[in-house]
Amino acid sequence: MSRLRTSLCGIELESPVLNGSGTYDALVARDVFGDPFIRQFPFAAFVSKTITLAPRVGNPPNRLWETPSGMINSIGLPNPGLDTFLERDLPRLSELPVPLVVSVMADSGEDFARLVSEVADSGRASAIELNVSCPNVHSGLIVGEQPTETEALMGILRPLTKIPLIVKLTPNVAAPEEVARAAEAGGADGISMINTLKAWAADPESGRSWLGAGTGGLSGPAVRPVALAQVRQVSSAVAIPVIGMGGITDGESAFEFIAAGATAVAVGTENFRDPAAGGRISAELERILESRELDSVEQARRSTLT
């Protein structure tokens, strides 16, 4: 697989294919599928689900709604909270055969700081992904919607650690490239995008909200054209690498993200349809590079930039 070797924020990866945060539970999958899961580990790096300081039970059901070529989720970030995560889950996650990226989220700079420093201090994470699609408890503004909030947050977090900090952007903005530029200016090492698009569905019987939380986030092939536009816009605006995602289902769609400027890609919803999608997509992507006589993902990316 040497054609697929990718360097991402200084981390050397066997392939450019990661998972989207919150779309794979590697510890449960290890139990469900046994050793073959570890031997054929589907991703080149594993991104944890988003961890918060306090435990969260998540949103009330319904949490899922299938849409044309996609789905809406309102999972609500259930997670055991930082302490249990560090004690119980992190040691097991760091035994996975690939580098680990830990996704964290908080509603204040202080909480974000605790998450980042404790995860970094554990020495078990190769990088930290900052999920900024949440309101800041002080300003009420969604951090990832505001360049200024994003840069201010980076100002707090950047001094805390040397390991790569990746900012996960929300797509529900007019100009994602401005938020990305602010993240870069604040010292981010990479951008990960897109998170889900704000979405709603009616209960077919009552006409009221189907989802327990009212609204949710759209993912899957339906959003791919939007994700590609944003990845293209952002990757031409910043010099740091972009991890592209949103509706990737196969090597061809992964290649589209690389053509749009992504250095690496992540698979989310497709994991639900095919638990082994990550490995399949890596293999398909390798065949595409081969048939186009491209020696690396980086070469592919450059070949399409005008």
Partner: protein, 283 residues
């Protein structure tokens, strides 16, 4: 105590449909799974007609969770029977599979039914209560109990003939108590009427109740068992995107206000592990 469960082959796999026929209001079809382990009753699979379905308007998009109703292991792998109630695009597409077609599957997934002794030490029997399409895992479990020499009695309930099927094929060789809400066969009323009579009898001490069916039925069974001090296991349903713990979409409320992930912590749960089997209906 949780029964062991087999490891599922990693990923999804293609299987062949070896039979499909109508049975009452349902469609029964059979797959040959050459790679999989023998599943345990109460487990389920995630099924799709094709890697991308033959979809209409982009739905079905996700695979559908379906319990197996019978499994047989033979030289060419495991033979799996499924019973389908067509309620939307996914089940309609699965019901349209014909002999020779391919079907994509992942699994077996989920926590299976426990035998009575595992639920309650020393328990000497099982009462099986199936409602509607919920008879599928009940059929598989009944067969397993017979093999294990555990005495069981079976009660099945249906709305009407159009919403029934599989009785003779999957339960024919044994005496079952039948209830039809429209009175067309068996007891005229709910299957829980039959359960109430049985629980009121004096020969059920120590028996464990197992049930699968619509939320209302399961909640009724749960409450009857709780009141009667009888242990029960319920095979629940919920929307599922993945079936293997990845999406956290299949949340079912627990008594402590948190949620279990039905695809890994269930789909079979003990009555006291959940706050309600019909949470939607009391919202």
């Amino acid at each position: 105590m949780r029964p062991d469960r087999p490891e599922a082959p990693f990923g999804r796999r293609e299987t062949e449909v070896t039979d499909s026929h109508r049975d009452g209001g349902y469609r029964v079809f059979t797959l040959r799974d050459e790679l999989g382990p023998e599943p345990i009753p109460g487990q389920f699979y995630m099924l799709a007609n094709a890697p991308d379905w033959p979809a209409t308007t982009g739905r079905p998009y996700l695979p559908r969770a379906i319990s197996f109703a019978r499994s047989d292991s033979g030289d060419s792998g495991i033979t799996l029977d499924f019973i389908i109630h067509e309620v939307g695009p996914g089940t309609t597409a699965l019901a349209g599979l014909a002999e020779g077609d391919r079907c994509w599957l992942a699994g077996p997934f989920g926590r299976p039914f426990s035998i009575p002794d595992q639920v309650k030490a020393g328990s000497h029997g099982a009462i099986l209560v199936g409602g509607g399409i919920g008879i599928a895992p009940i059929a598989a479990f009944r067969r397993r109990l017979v093999e294990a020499g555990v005495p069981s009695r079976t009660l099945l309930g249906f709305r009407d003939v159009e919403h029934s099927g599989g009785i003779d094929d999957f339960f024919g060789c044994e005496q079952v108590g039948l209830a039809f809400e429209d009175g067309s066969r068996g007891h005229h009323g709910h299957v829980t009427d039959l359960l109430a009579t049985m629980l009121a009898g004096d020969d059920t001490g120590g028996a464990v109740v197992y049930s699968c069916g619509p939320p209302g039925l399961l909640e009724k069974v749960r409450q009857m068992c709780a009141e009667g001090g009888v242990s029960c296991e319920l095979a629940l349903e919920s929307p599922m995107a993945c079936g293997f713990g990845a999406c956290f979409g299949c949340a079912v409320p627990k008594p402590d206000g948190s949620y279990l992930r039905l695809c890994v912590d269930g789909a079979v749960v003990r009555g006291d592990e959940i706050s309600s089997a019909a949470p939607g209906e009391i919202q």
